[in-house]
């Protein structure tokens, strides 16, 4: 499944488990420019719920899409503000 947005950065947190995927995602989003899209690649099944939860309660970030690829979970987030 392919996504239609331009990806500015890709964060690879494959192999890392809770809480690192969320923390690394938070750091990576902080480094983006407003409007940029971050792709996160994770193998932690909990990242589907965790990154969704983090994004929905954090200002300045929008979760665009999550893809359950079986082995790898892909998350797409856009920075919407500082």
């Amino acid at each position: 499944m392919n996504t239609e947005f331009d990806i500015a950065e890709t964060l690879d947190v494959k192999g890392a488990s809770c809480p690192m995927p969320v923390i690394k995602t938070s750091e990576a989003v902080g480094d983006l420019d407003v409007g940029d899209v971050l792709e996160v690649l994770a193998t932690d099944a909990g990242s589907m719920s965790d990154i969704d939860g983090w994004a929905s309660s954090t200002d300045g970030v929008e979760l665009l899409e999550q893809v359950d690829g079986g082995d790898v979970y892909k998350h797409y987030l856009r920075k919407t503000g500082e």
Binding site: G15, S17, P19, M20, I23, D44, W54, S57
Partner: protein, 192 residues
């Protein structure tokens, strides 16, 4: 008798008094509403009292994650919890085999010498295989994210720990009153 020319001469408040009170109340409501809209980030305080390998994890995982949410987080370490902040001891925390319902062995066996080390080594291997962060990594990441890791002065004295024993960035020399101040304003307070 007074010859005051106020419009209402009785015991009750004058129209002007009432108007003034309404204005005062209106200002107060406005300032309270403004404060409610602007109460800043959420706050969490965790009191961490345990220094065993398994009990070191939950406070650090919650604290670092909450910091990623932008929360203002304090973890107040006291008693054996201090070992988690102790640079040398944190690398040698033990999982207790005795009384641990998840250990597939009777207590009599678990109490034998070396069993704690064996149990800890088993868990360390699982943690490495599973990609779980080490305690040291979680402390680093928590401090990087601005979590305030506090060491209780009273138990530092009791256990003869020095502030220099702790990781750089740990706040030493604080007491219950400091923890309570943060706790009183916190949305989440946990004792672990």
């Amino acid at each position: 008798m007074s010859t005051d020319s106020a419009p209402t001469a009785g015991d009750g408040p004058t129209r002007e008094d009432l108007q003034e009170q309404v204005e005062t109340l209106r200002d107060r409501v406005e300032s309270l509403e403004a404060a409610a809209d602007d109460d800043g980030p959420k706050k969490m305080t965790i009191v961490a009292t345990q220094g065993s390998f398994d009990m070191a994890y939950p406070p650090l995982i919650l604290a670092s994650t909450a910091a990623a949410f932008g929360w203002d987080v304090v973890v107040f370490y006291t008693f054996w919890g201090l070992d988690v902040l102790h640079e040398k001891k944190s690398r040698k925390l033990k999982l207790s085999a005795v009384g641990n319902p998840n250990m597939p062995m009777p207590n009599a066996l678990a109490a034998l010498p070396g069993m704690d080390r064996l149990a800890t080594r088993m868990m360390e291997k699982r943690i490495a295989d599973n990609g779980t962060a080490t305690i040291e990594e979680l402390i680093d990441v928590s401090l990087d994210q601005g979590v305030d890791l506090q060491a209780c002065q009273m138990t530092m004295d009791l256990m003869e720990y020095d502030a220099d024993d702790f990781y750089d960035g740990v706040t030493a020399g604080v007491g219950a009153a400091t923890a309570l101040q943060h706790m009183a304003d916190s949305d989440v307070q946990l004792l672990v």
